[in-house]
């Protein structure tokens, strides 16, 4: 259900320490989210596209992600140019270039942040990101929650599917009826109860193996020289992008 299709690879970005990538992604996406003019947004867009290119992802999968994000920006392009701005709103048809510019800016920013996350975060597995976050000082409980939600959602989904199949096999066909709603209520309730029981058994299994609230990662590589250089590069990029916002630029 939840795969990590981008995490397997051997590009330069895949080999970087997750901590470095987390800091870099936070820096770049923050600057991009706050930029309010086209030039920094466009520069950021091209830089993150370059990063994504370096990570050598599967083009079909990237396209799918781009499409799903741009479904939202499409709506902005359809509405903003005709609704944005003050001034002449009394006429029936109203076109605002300012609105078009705004839609364009949002599209650049959201795609840039998407590229940045695909290139930097999706190239690490969730487990590595979780441990990276913990080492960066995120509270242990939150790391634990992240890692276990990721692992358990899959199992809960399987449990739900199994119940749903059992219902289907006994002739249950969803319809707009009280019987359907009641059945779904039972399915959800039963999934909840079963997941709870399973969580308890897994907790027992962990206690039996000496778990004391701390997840110890098996691989603990330290950042290398390449990692630090890459961090400096990412942070300088963020600074340059941020700096561009302070210059009086034409767009």
């Amino acid at each position: 259900m939840i795969g990590e299709p981008f995490a397997n690879g051997s590009s330069f970005l895949h080999k970087r320490d997750p901590r470095i990538k987390l800091i870099g992604a936070a820096g770049i996406s923050l600057v991009m989210a706050l930029s309010s003019s086209l030039i920094p947004a466009a520069t950021g867009f091209f830089l993150t596209a370059l990063l994504l290119f370096i990570s050598r992802p599967d083009p079909a999968r990237v396209l799918k992600r781009i499409l799903s994000v741009n479904l939202f920006t499409l709506f902005l392009f359809l509405t903003l140019p005709f609704t944005y701005g003050t001034g002449n709103t009394t006429t029936f048809f109203h076109f605002s270039p300012e609105g078009l510019r705004m839609a364009f800016l949002i599209a650049l920013k959201s795609n840039g942040i998407l590229f940045c996350f695909l290139a930097l975060l999706a190239t690490s597995s969730t487990a590595h990101l979780g441990h990276g976050l913990e080492k960066l000082g995120m509270p242990r409980k939150l790391t634990f929650l992240l890692l276990f939600s990721y692992r358990q959602i899959f199992i809960i989904h399987q449990e739900y599917k199994r119940l749903q199949r059992a219902a289907m096999l006994r002739g249950f066909i969803p319809a707009n009826s009280l019987h359907t709603y009641r059945t779904y209520g039972h399915l959800f309730g039963m999934t909840l109860v079963k997941s709870w029981n399973r969580a308890e058994r897994i907790h027992q299994a962990m206690l039996l193996r000496g778990f004391d609230g701390r997840l110890i990662p098996l691989n603990q590589p330290s950042p290398t020289g390449a990692d630090y250089s890459f961090l400096i590069l990412l942070l300088s990029l963020s600074l340059i992008l941020a700096g561009l916002s302070f210059f009086p630029l034409p767009l």
């Binding site: 692992r151 299994a205 193996r209 000496g210 110890i216 691989n219």
Partner: protein, 242 residues
């Protein structure tokens, strides 16, 4: 002075809240290096019995004694859990890490081994169980038999002195079941096995107990007898008593 037994249960009684008849009633047992099989009807408290031994449930009366020391608090049971390994009935409850290697190394890491040492012992355990090359496999995508063997590996990597196995041969195909029998015979570890599979118990245990109506009782010694049985895969040649 005699060395105390590895594990001793003294007058263990347990009943679920709201139930009148106790599930376990003054159960006594001593284990040092025996290989024990435990039989009993469904719902007679066999799994509860294991959970009590491991300190996951607390008996209402009675004592659990490990190497002569009575287990009282959670702290004591933490020590006990390093010595005893419990294989769950359902391997899905036992495997929770993304990859096989991470799961097998989980126990050793918690016991304070360095990542390198934990990795080392995990790989050795997997190799020993014939699971070489499974290190990076995803745990929830393994087959039922593979899950059972990996779950066993997660326990063996903690180097226990006594294994508690809860219906280990359930849902295993004949080949995996035979493999498990061979592994258990070669391990040379004390164990208590809960099972309804009498042939499995006969080939892995030297003592049999039954748990019925809350009482644990020793069965007669094994007797040579003949019985009718079905062979899987009908006409294939086979041997008895190997």
């Amino acid at each position: 002075m005699n060395k105390p037994p590895l594990l001793e249960l003294r007058d263990i009684s347990y009943s679920y809240p709201g139930h009148n008849s106790p599930l376990l009633n003054d159960v006594n047992l001593q284990v040092t290096n025996e290989r024990i099989g435990l039989i009993g009807p469904n719902g007679c408290g066999k799994t509860t019995f294991f959970q009590i031994i491991m300190g996951l449930l607390r008996a209402q009366t009675g004592e659990i004694v490990l190497n002569g020391k009575t287990m009282e608090q959670e702290k004591d049971f933490r020590i006990l859990r390093r010595t005893l390994g419990f294989l769950f009935q359902n391997s899905d409850d036992q495997l929770f890490s993304p990859t096989v290697l991470e799961d097998v190394a989980f126990g050793p890491l918690n016991h304070g081994l360095t990542p390198d040492a934990a990795k080392d012992i995990s790989i050795k355990t997997l190799e020993h169980l014939g699971l070489k090359g499974f290190e990076e496999r995803i745990t929830h995508k393994l087959s039922g038999g593979e899950k059972k063997l990996v779950a066993l590996a997660t326990i063996l990597s903690m180097q226990p002195q006594l294994l508690l196995l809860d219906e280990p041969s359930n849902n295993l195909d004949p080949a995996t079941r035979d493999r498990l029998i061979t592994i258990l015979r070669e391990l040379n570890l004390a164990h208590i096995i809960i099972s309804h599979d009498l042939d499995f118990l006969a080939s892995t245990c030297s003592k049999l107990y039954t748990l019925e109506d809350g009482k644990l009782s020793r069965c007669e010694q094994k007797q040579i007898h003949s019985h009718e049985h079905i062979h899987p895969y009908g006409n294939a040649p086979h041997q008895h008593g190997v």
